[in-house]
């Protein structure tokens, strides 16, 4: 529990994290608002084909903040300080304080989970209100089950970013790969044009939890399970690797 508190305090004191919180809380309503403005006329005229996505698209794209959160939570531990202040790594200190590596990893993952759930709830509230504000009576009906799906998608994405960064120890690669892959046209989406197997990639499966109520490849529940399976496998691999290797090398 104390390790968990320590991890939470790290998550709230990192300067880079505030970027993650800002993006996570304000990008989704902004996305949704822009999209609502663009679609407003079509929706009022009743010819919009994307009514069911309008608000949710913000939640799909606003996941950027959460990726930064998951990546920074791990990569900040591996930053080497300048030679003038000893050239140390924070991870050395962390593992001296919490000597069980599994406990350390679980505490960190727990803290990331809690913060991302909270952040996702904030994002859901702001997005729904922004959409309602702009579209008024024409706003799509927000179903609780789909919103919970969005929260799950955010949390799983944070944990995916977390697991990948444990493996790479450096924030650049996971940040680049995940940010690009959650951009407007994702690589996974292109791959689905080549092979149906790409629908089993974590982000495609995860999006089925809330983006496409009728026409998804998976049902929301299966999509959630597939993404959860990816997270579990990745976390196990990360735990084993983290358990076996030298601290900072």
């Amino acid at each position: 529990m104390r390790a968990f508190n320590a991890e939470l305090s790290k998550l709230f004191s990192l300067p880079g994290m505030w970027l993650a919180y800002l993006i996570g809380a304000f990008a989704p309503p902004l996305f949704a608002a822009l999209d609502s403005f663009a679609e407003k006329e079509d929706i009022i005229a009743g010819v919009s084909t994307r009514l069911s996505e309008v608000g949710y698209i913000g939640l799909g794209g606003g996941v950027q903040g959460i990726i930064i959160l998951g990546v920074l939570a791990v990569s900040s531990e591996y930053l080497t300080e300048s030679s003038e202040s000893g050239g140390g790594n924070q991870i050395t200190t962390s593992l001296t304080a919490v000597s069980s590596r599994l406990h350390f990893l679980l505490a960190k993952a727990g803290a990331v989970t809690v913060v991302s759930v909270l952040l996702a709830i904030v994002a859901v509230v702001t997005t729904v209100s922004a959409t309602n504000l702009i579209l008024g009576d024409y706003a799509p009906a927000f179903e609780a089950s789909r919103l919970i799906g969005a929260v799950c998608y955010w949390t799983f994405t944070a944990l995916l970013a977390f697991g990948i960064t444990v493996l790479t120890k450096n924030g650049i690669i996971p940040l680049a790969v995940l940010m690009i892959n959650s951009s407007v046209v994702t690589i996974s989406f292109l791959l689905t044009k080549v092979t149906k197997l790409a629908f089993y990639l974590p982000d495609m499966a995860g999006l089925d939890m809330f983006m496409s109520p009728s026409g998804g490849f998976h049902t929301p529940l299966t999509g959630g399970f597939i993404m959860f399976a990816w997270v579990t496998v990745l976390f196990l691999v990360a735990a084993v690797v983290f358990h076996r290797r030298d601290i900072a090398s």
Binding site: F31, F37, Q64, I68, K193
Partner: protein, 252 residues
Amino acid sequence: MMVSSSRKITLILGAELDKLVTLPLIWRAFAATFIVNLVLTAAFTSAGLQGTAGTQSILGTGLASMGYLQAGFIILGILATCSEYTGGQIRTTLTTVPWRGFQLSTKHLALAVVTIPMAFIIVASGVLYSFIMMRDTAAGFELDTMIKTLLGATGYITLTTLLSAAIGAVLRRTTPALVALLGYYFIVSPLSRDYLPSIKNYFPDTAGSYMYMPLSSEGINVLTPMQGTGILLLWTLLFITVAIVFYRERDA
């Protein structure tokens, strides 16, 4: 020791090139970009081959991965300038080369020297791959169009790399620079294309994309390749100037 100023330029350029070439992450970034680009081109090509035969252009397919390819070079540009700030290397640099504006300009020059051949190889390999795979089915094209497009794409990537390096020099930290640039190129810009159609052509990436974009189906592009180059060049120079101004003014 007195050194003539032309000799000084050669020495500084040599030192900057040395630093770039010995950064381990640079070569990994190049290798990864090369491989990922080929994989993506393969995916685009096989998707293109499934379409109706004779209608796709080889150049279009070979360059379809440009949007993702630029990410590798954005990382490269950021690494080139931000690596100075990890572990206090910047203080050593400034002790040996105390002319700040000069040093940063030379760094950009060295970066361009490294980037141009790499960008050309990577772009050309993608086009070559799709040429080999599609030569039987796709519509023909002229050689000089292809050379112009390849040069345009190389120029676009080089300018984007320099622009990223300048922003890296302003922000000085890898992660914020990475988030800002990737966020702009992959989230903000595609969105603004839909919502701000009137001014999008003056953004660095949209303007730059006309440098290599094949003629659109209407037969005419909004900007000519030269206009696109000009606008992107202006943006790049603007950011480099800002970076130099900041660099001269503030503590190392």
